[in-house]
Symmetry: C2
Subunit: 133 residues, 2 copies
């Protein structure tokens, strides 16, 4: 199957401009063209875009994604380096998750504080009134 740039954008969740931009900066090999010179993305292209968006979500900078993309073009000999990049990214993602968990704890603490303030503003221990009523 092949897809117009609009369809590829829809399926990848990237904008049309971003697709052209990724091609310009060599994140994406130039896709095939139809008879009118319009881009025709393959399933492979879409798969690669899917993986790229995952890498992007992990916060990998475009620079590193470009390195990975370039290694991919150099075949099996570059597999070791590619794996190393992914292992490093895996480490950084795990770290980031831990960091965010810590932030979640801080947020929960603060939110609980506000909740206590709210209970005070509404009257001291409304639950007690219910019990004594």
């Amino acid at each position: 199957m092949s897809y117009s740039i609009a369809e590829a954008a829809r399926r990848s969740g990237l904008s049309i401009d971003t697709l052209r931009y990724y091609e310009r900066i060599k994140l994406l090999d130039p896709p095939a063209r139809d008879t009118a010179g319009r881009r025709a993305y393959s399933d492979d292209d879409l798969g690669w875009l899917g993986f790229l968006t995952k890498l992007r979500t992990t916060g990998m900078p475009i620079k590193s994604m470009r390195e990975y993309a370039s290694l991919r073009r150099h075949g099996v000999a570059s597999a070791g380096r590619r794996k190393a990049l992914l292992v490093e990214q895996r480490r950084s993602v795990a770290e980031r998750i831990a960091e965010l968990q810590g932030c979640l704890d801080v947020l929960d603490y603060k939110i609980e504080n506000y909740a206590q303030v709210e209970r005070k503003v509404l009257g001291v221990e409304p639950d007690m009134e219910e019990i004594s009523a």
Copy 2:
């Protein structure tokens, strides 16, 4: 206790320039000054900076941090809105963590693929040789 800008930077993990920048954009109330006109950060300032860096880590845009900072200046009446902001941020952090977990799975899958390629390149099933030796 009060701290020079250099010390505040060291303790908050922000740069000196960033501290001045945060003050300019009203993320941070102007700290006290010493006799020579130099900034003297209080423990409260440091506490607030600590919280700000947590919010930043969660990916909260400066715009929202400014809103939160501004609400804080309006006292207890703004507590509800502040709590709502934090609850929303909490939600977005939890979502982000889930998203990153998904990426971790993709990375693990890819890394495992590369590991299999490596085992093939080194010779088919070296473990078998050990067993048969």
